[in-house]
Symmetry: C2
Amino acid sequence: MKIVFKKSDLTNAVNIVSKAIVTRTTMSILECIFIEAGDKIKFIANDMELGIETIVKGEILERGQIAIDAKMLSDIVRKLPDEDITIETDENFVVNITCGKINFKINGKEGYDFIFLPKFEREESIYFSQFTLKEIIKQTIFSILNKEDGSIAKTMSGELFEIKGNILKVVSLDGHRISIRKVELKESFKDISVIVPGKSLNEINKILNGGNEDMVRVFFTKNVNSDSNVYSHIVFEFDNTVVVSRLIEGNYFNIDKMISSDYDVKFKVNKKELYDCIDRATLFSSDKDNQPIVTSITDDNVEITINSSMGYMDENVRIDKTGKDLVIGFNPKFIMDALKVIDDEEVSFYMLNAKSPCFIKNDEESYIYIILPVNL
Amino acid sequence: MKIVFKKSDLTNAVNIVSKAIVTRTTMSILECIFIEAGDKIKFIANDMELGIETIVKGEILERGQIAIDAKMLSDIVRKLPDEDITIETDENFVVNITCGKINFKINGKEGYDFIFLPKFEREESIYFSQFTLKEIIKQTIFSILNKEDGSIAKTMSGELFEIKGNILKVVSLDGHRISIRKVELKESFKDISVIVPGKSLNEINKILNGGNEDMVRVFFTKNVNSDSNVYSHIVFEFDNTVVVSRLIEGNYFNIDKMISSDYDVKFKVNKKELYDCIDRATLFSSDKDNQPIVTSITDDNVEITINSSMGYMDENVRIDKTGKDLVIGFNPKFIMDALKVIDDEEVSFYMLNAKSPCFIKNDEESYIYIILPVNL
């Protein structure tokens, strides 16, 4: 195999597929990028849960294929000058990387044990802009459960992607809070409901360029060799790249019964003022003791106080309230996480009492953040 | 005590004195900034080796003094809006920090056990620009010995500051290499030779603004209560700040006998080309195995090669050589450290043979970097 790349094309391709590289594994092939030079040049990586394949520009002088340690390839390319880079292999799978008067030799692998991306048929598909996908991931990913212990937690480590008509709804929850985002699609699609691993969404997010004009096509596929009617994989196609992620098996929580539009207190507040205030209060709330903030809602004022072994803070923020007065406690981090991803300048809080969940949502309900209070 | 500060003045003062704050100590007073409001406002911190005192702008509404945890104070100030900040204490050493509608309460300390800066007389002093001091520290600090085990190593953990006439010479060494920088001062001063702890120089470097017009005055002082003729402390005075550092006791190495102007090979090379080449070679030299680079010097070419379990690299760099051919091995990091702090575009290497130290220096010898080769 012998291929000549522009440095920028090579760098870009290595960066993209490296998102599906496993580090610290006993299977060294999982640390490799598989390069295939046939009609086109393909870079492939697969960590068994997530697989990425991208087509790379370059001049094929000799066809062939090789598996190269991803970190080593990435390090070498990064340290090379911005000139043409040639990757050449010999019959012993020694990889020669040359660039001007610079010559690197490293050991590659034939890659007979490389695990290629699962075959899939392009059946059900939806599409929207990369910008929408990036936003919707950012706005929900923080409330997935990070620990993957037990079967209930397994579904909590992913996000629900639900399509009904022309509405895509994405949900994440961790037992203390629920994040819901809805996006109107340009067309109606067949009803679908799957759970996508949070880890896959995090990695996809890093390689989407996020343009409003650049589209991403999303397929839901079943295992080709299985008779099951259940979707096994989700596929994202964008630019010259295909990302395939396993889906999480199982049923997602029925969140509809947790959503209510009843409330006894509603207030509107400047998002930045409230965020900065709670951020200051977190100085006295360590991860260990998880000291809650006390939120005292009166006529046109919310007073946030915190009192821990480290110190005491109080601060007043102006609000626009309807309904009764209320004193309610929160984990400050949960409120901040939600405020951080809301773009509106003013946000509305809806509450029933000090024991019931608090809703942060807009009138159209394109976002709903539900946060359980803390007993004071 | 009650003082009103502008946020920027308070932030700046906390940042400066925090460089002498100890973290993870059993003596909690060493984690505190001592604030003294008398005729002026002084912030003081002292970790026993390094002490910093700075005068801060602010309006004194009530005189007094208090010791406040440095990290807590710094965190609170950072999270406050850019408005006037009031620090007020009561008879129980509770500290109220207020800013608009925001109110923090933390526990301060009377500070009866605070260790103030040692008293010193302003005897011998020299002065030069902050820029010069910052540069000279940066250009030598990398070759001090970081471990402080044993008495020989103790002097290696500091830098020699030697004044003879109008020349300030700064030296650091770690047993494998020596860095020497000379600066011509505007006046002649009394001969002085002291060893300044590397840690102190690192911290001073962070708070010098580095202006070419801003001067720093350096004093060498003896312990006021001692009859000894040996200097015990070095004092740096600049802007509104005084930094006092203990000196390291003992005699520094006699480096003059290690310096020779004999050579059998001399070459001139483009610094950036050589640096980038060696940087690429370090990909195959892990910290563990410390694989050397092989430097083959021939007529107008130096070939750098490295061959380790990770891979092989070779690269040729054009040089301008006089003298014999030579093959010599180096720890790549040592050459890079020196090249990194040399401002010249072209640098000159002087060597005798594969066993003798290599000299990188300019004609005026305002810098000399001496590096021991590695046996191949």
